[in-house]
Amino acid sequence: MQIDRRIIYLFVAIGTILPIIFVIGLPVSITPPVQMAFDRIENQLQKGDIALVSFDYGPSSAPENAPMADAILRHCFSKGIKVVVIALYPLGGLSEAVNEVNKVVAEFPELKYGVDYVNLGYKDGAQAAMKKMAENIHEVFPTDMNGTPLDELPIMKNIRTYRDMKLVVSLATGIIGEWWANLVNAQFGIPVIVGPTAVSAPKYYAYLEAKQMAGLLGGLKGASEYERLVVNSYPKLAEVYATPGLYTATKGMDVQSIVHLIMIAFIVFGNIVYFTSKRKPRKAS
């Protein structure tokens, strides 16, 4: 009954690595909060509309948040929606924004920086910045992350406040995501979609019910659902998502399912052995 713990470790390691290399694609059912988020971008935004994508997470939660960011960016770019990227998370938000934007943009060679998308960089003091952006974004971010003044960027010429944009998407690990819902949406009315980590997702259902959010991608599972939705609607993205070296939430969710099942299997196995071995001595006596 005592098995070497390293055997368990081996199973967990294989269960983690294999789904990262090979796409398994275990079925996922689409939940309403994710469908709402997808429908908002798919049906209520038009080509040329502006979406603000805020990177409110750091490297520590990247396995969960990065696939959400990728899927949202891919969806926007596929539909011809222009994207303004900002980062408000102090511990590595900017580097995440740069990584993910560069990765996705490389898949869309037709996109022009400053016209179709822009990265305004990181701003300290998230809440104050979020409020100030309702008055003038140009004051909060005088330049983009490369130091180019905003007025020299065609995309930013007509964007001054939240009113010039159609949607905010926040990929969040902490409280910043909640501020988008209970502060920016509540005070300025712009629709907000938040992609929080699985741990903090339950808190967001209240905002969703109060219609302070236009959609919710809860953790890896939410991200994998979103991936399914965009893959089904855009054949080009189906190709992108089949690239071998690409980490996706679908793969991540496969790992989750498999590792959970491995753990459950070991627990059940342990109990079966426990009960069968407990009966034997009784028979002997």
Partner: protein, 220 residues
């Protein structure tokens, strides 16, 4: 005197925030926030205590050639490199300790990104393995309590993955219910009890009854 002064200081320092909590007078609040800002600095000074101890212990190890002494050299090397760039950064050498405005890494930031973060992240990630081995060993239906523990864990784990939802939509609902009701109730009970225990401990400290942390024995 050696005994009384520290106890008196503890009492006074403890009384200030307690009074400031109830009394909205400007001066009371000011005393409290000033003390707070001081103590952040004291905590900063304290780190050096640790550094001194680490350097002492490891140089001793190397001098005595105690078992594993080469690792003490590795440790001190890591401390020296990172510490050097950290201190230099405070004097604005090498561009400080964060990334430079153009996005390139300062040496401190580079070491953080490629040394500190992967080491920290991997240590943290080992937990996934340890949870698997711990759950295999501990979740056995040995008695009533252990069985309850086992069932709750299995139900929640199953309800968290899409597979569970496909078997029955009741699994995620049951998970949510367990987390929101019985789990929440138990956690509240623990929190209320622990908060009372902590407050009682705090009171004993302020009154000088509990003093082992100062290295002051029972003697009145």
């Amino acid at each position: 005197m050696k005994r009384q002064i520290p106890l008196l200081l503890t009492f006074l320092a403890g009384a200030i925030p307690t009074i400031a909590f109830f009394v909205p007078q400007k001066h009371v609040g000011l005393v409290s926030t000033t003390l707070d800002s001081w103590l952040i600095i004291v905590a900063g000074f304290a780190l050096l205590l640790g550094v001194v101890n680490v350097v002492q212990m490891n140089t001793n190890k190397i001098k005595r050639q105690a078992s594993g002494w080469p690792y003490a050299i590795v440790l001190l090397a890591g401390l020296a490199i990172m510490g050097f760039f950290g201190v230099a950064g405070a004097f604005d050498k090498f561009g400080g300790i964060a990334t430079r405005p153009d996005g390139s890494s300062t040496p401190f930031d580079w070491l953080y990104k490629y040394g500190f973060l992967p080491l920290q992240g991997t240590m943290f990630a080992l937990l996934a393995f340890f949870m698997a081995s711990a759950s295999y060993r501990a979740f056995r239906a040995r008695n009533t309590e252990a069985t309850i523990l086992l069932i709750a864990a299995l139900l929640v784990m199953f309800g968290r993955i899409p597979f569970g939802e496909m078997v029955s939509k009741w699994f995620p609902l049951a998970t949510e219910w367990i987390m929101g009701k019985p789990n929440m109730a138990a956690q509240r009970g623990i929190m209320i009890g622990a908060a009372l225990g902590a407050a009682s401990m705090a009171l004993r400290v302020i009154l000088g009854i509990e003093r082992s942390y100062l290295g002051l024995g029972k003697g009145e």
